[in-house]
Symmetry: C2
Subunit: 506 residues, 2 copies
């Protein structure tokens, strides 16, 4: 009896309030989850749970390969999940734009960068599989109508500029075109359709799913549960659990509800934990990534995240007490988040550092206007003004900027070894734009173990669980300790496509 007591389940998410508490009193109906004798309400060929990058790419690929009845089930009332609200950053090796810009890159180089960030425990076979197919996935988005800035960015931990970004600087620039494409291809997407569990045969093979229709997120046990027989395969593309405070605190007791989170509210991980109940192997659950580019001055992903991702290469991050830099501004995410968290006042309270950028460089990205407009960034005409505003020792800050401008000239950062390629010629000078930095919970490296065929492995048999596939943030292993920025979209899309290929034996 996996999924025991499904009808009694409460949403174990702190902060849901009265709705969640009331539901706890609902009596148990004790649904069995063996499919034997189950009344099937209807059937599909391929059921995709979740409508983010992974789910949408799986749907498009399945239809391309001739699948008939493909359906997407999304628990929220809107399509796109957490994918729709991130930065829309897409890394791929050896792309047309890299060739145009004369940049050398390869699958091996991209894999090596990620292996380094993964600190020895990343799954290299999965990284290679994704890198090898990243251009296909990129092309799928372009074919569907996604539009990208006409330049590449070099994100933290990448040894070369290889990151595309949507012109809207947002993941919706990809999920919206892909969603339109699924509609064109005849894939129905059911919103407010919550995955409730698997229906399995006596061998533990997945034969169907339970879907709660007319579900409202944040309430519980509302709507009606239908049993859907799945002929070919279920693809779990349900994402991470960064918004599930109890589950993230299980891994890191410091990640309380007080800690900011960039994710969409629906990122609560039930799909992942349901797979563990089925026997999937939990991998790297303890590795929860905080985004070092976030701001304490706004909620969620906000404007500053995109702003600082773009500007880090030609900016400095500065400690308020010392007026000195404290990190390589384009190190990998974990390195930077750890360095930022070390910024404390004398009592040990958080003292968010600032990022200083020349206004003439920041204004080249559309987010510069937005951070100023919404009061989460500041513009200063002189260093004196800036230092006064943040109570930074002026002399020290002047010295730091002089030193840094020396590195811009020589191309060698003697303080932190930051690669200066993208900073060449970009001296720091007034007027300045400034944002404050403080990490927010952003990404769950952990999840279910999968093969390079997107099959979900059983902890006892070591074999794939028949009928079950998973793709994207719900899976674990590929990134190891720390995922590099812009490597999630290619992963989600390639593994979603791969799941459909595996099911259809293409």
């Amino acid at each position: 009896m996996t999924n025991n007591n499904l009808m009694k389940r409460r949403n174990f998410i702190k902060g849901l309030g009265a709705a969640g508490l009331a539901a706890a009193a609902t009596p148990a109906l004790a649904l069995s989850n063996n499919s034997k004798g189950v009344q099937w309400h209807r059937s599909v060929d391929i059921a995709i749970i979740g409508s983010g990058f992974a789910g949408l790419a799986a749907a498009v690929e399945a239809k391309r390969l001739g699948a008939k009845d493909v359906e997407i089930f999304e628990k929220m009332s809107v399509v796109g999940g957490n994918s729709a609200i991130n930065g829309g950053l897409f890394a791929a090796p050896d792309t047309p734009m890299q060739r145009k810009e004369g940049l050398k890159d390869s699958v091996e180089t991209m894999v090596a960068d990620q292996v380094a960030a993964g600190r020895g425990i990343a799954y290299e076979d999965l990284l290679r599989h994704v890198a090898e197919h990243a251009n296909e996935a990129l092309q799928m988005t372009i074919d569907a109508g996604a539009e990208y800035h006409p330049y590449l960015q070099q994100l933290g931990g990448h040894s070369v500029a290889r990151t595309y970004q949507t012109t809207v600087s947002c993941g919706a620039g990809i999920t919206q075109p892909l969603y339109k494409e699924t509609k064109k291809l005849g894939v129905p997407t059911h919103t407010r359709a919550k995955f409730e569990g698997f229906l399995v045969n006596d061998n533990g093979d997945v034969e169907g799913i339970k879907i709660r229709e007319n579900y409202y997120f944040g309430r519980d046990n509302n709507g009606e549960v239908v049993n859907i027989k799945v002929a070919k395969g279920v693809i779990m593309a349900t994402g991470g659990f960064a918004q599930n405070v109890a589950m993230r605190m299980a891994q890191d007791p410091t990640l309380t509800s007080e800690v900011g989170c960039t994710n969409a509210k629906g990122a609560t991980g039930e799909g992942m934990f349901e797979m563990f109940r089925l026997g999937a192997i939990p991998v790297h659950m303890a590795h929860i990534q905080s985004g070092p580019w976030a701001s304490p001055d706004e909620g969620g992903f906000g404007y500053v995240s995109n702003y600082s991702i773009f500007n880090f290469p030609h900016s400095i991050a500065v400690n308020l007490k010392s007026g000195r830099r404290f990190m390589n501004e384009i190190a990998d995410r974990k390195t930077r988040a750890d360095a930022e968290l070390a910024n404390r006042d004398d009592e040990g309270n958080p003292m968010p550092p600032i990022m200083i950028t020349s206004y003439e460089h920041s204004k080249k990205h559309p987010t510069a206007k937005k951070v100023l407009k919404y009061g989460v960034g500041w513009k200063f005409d002189s260093l004196e003004e800036l230092a006064k505003h943040f109570n930074i020792p002026l002399k020290a800050l002047e010295k730091q900027i002089d030193e840094y401008n020396g590195y811009v000239k020589t191309g060698v950062d003697k303080q932190f070894g930051k690669p200066m390629d993208k900073a060449m010629g970009k001296y720091l000078k007034a007027p300045f734009t400034v944002v404050r930095l403080w990490p927010k919970v952003h990404y769950c490296q952990g999840g279910v173990q999968i093969t390079t065929k997107a099959e979900v492995v059983d902890s006892f048999s070591g074999k794939p669980i028949k009928g079950l596939y998973a793709a994207g943030e719900v899976t674990g292993g590929i990134h190891g300790v720390s995922r590099l920025g812009s490597c999630s979209i290619p992963e989600c899309m390639v593994m979603g496509m791969t799941a459909s290929r595996s099911i259809l034996k293409a």
Copy 2:
């Protein structure tokens, strides 16, 4: 349907060979695991799975509290599990021996040491609960007849000497007396009795267990399965998964079957993974600890581990190429293991460092004789001989030893900040004893999430799973990233005792 397809399960342990493979062909019998309609073969009040520290302490405590029918089920043919073969090191704060030696210590100090090693993610409430009850557990072992060396040791990461060690320098010095105590108290221990899964009611509460009797480890599906009704509670004390190569590689792909392991063969983790199938929360699974005191020259825990744990405080660890120290020899385990693994030749191949000890100090521990007798340690009459044997630059080594002896004199290690309390007056001088060091997989910090009552938490409800308790290495959270040495025995015993107290509401 948790535990689907139990009868078909294969032991997913690489290296089991033909027996394991043959079993894969056994036909599925598709046992249901809902207890409805199950034929109960017999019943017990408290079922304890596993006969290591946690299981034995749970059994003794349950009987003390008046429980009637308590039984232990052990899959191996011998009692004691992995507990019986470790170093028999037991940390407790503010003990009689500390007071005798004039050492100040407290629950808070012991907790603080462990919190630091846990690198921010240890469960402080569990650490405190264990530290508060550690003396009771120590007393339980003494009452049962365990004997300890008449001195305390200061292990890596501990800020004070607080570690007892059995006179046999082995965990069997505790498991044997405790086992005798359980027999005296009328607790049957069934060996070759393998836990196969839970039997649960419609609410998911644990009502019984399946036990495969007459089981032979390494074969599969041998013996017969009986259904045992459990009236009061099941205590899972099944240990870690360090010997399950597939499962440890899932967390760290570098921990192949080529990597040494100190654990007993039975440490394969089925009990843990079965709890995940029931809905237990996987915590810190990625944190697998390697013991920095192990030797590449012998299998398993061996003789060198105890030898070097005793000698590290007054010894130096030296890199063969440079002839220099490379770590604080009593830093926490992870810090040292990482430092040792960085010892490489020019091609990047492992180049195990050596530990150098004055023979006059090493000979005070019984293991010194053993490492020499079994050829896993060497004795040299002069530094010249030693340097020649290991091809170390003599001048550099001489200089290093001179420097280090300076630290012994001043009590301040200027190289790595090692606490020198236990090294005072212990100068390094010929003759020397030497062992080689290389980390071995030793301990799984990860496991199921529990409360301070040893209840197992359900991932969806956030509430304890009724009828289920867990204690010891099978649980996760308490140690965070890195467990301090000698903190496992108190944890296992206190949480085993706690489980029985919770069941009996004592």
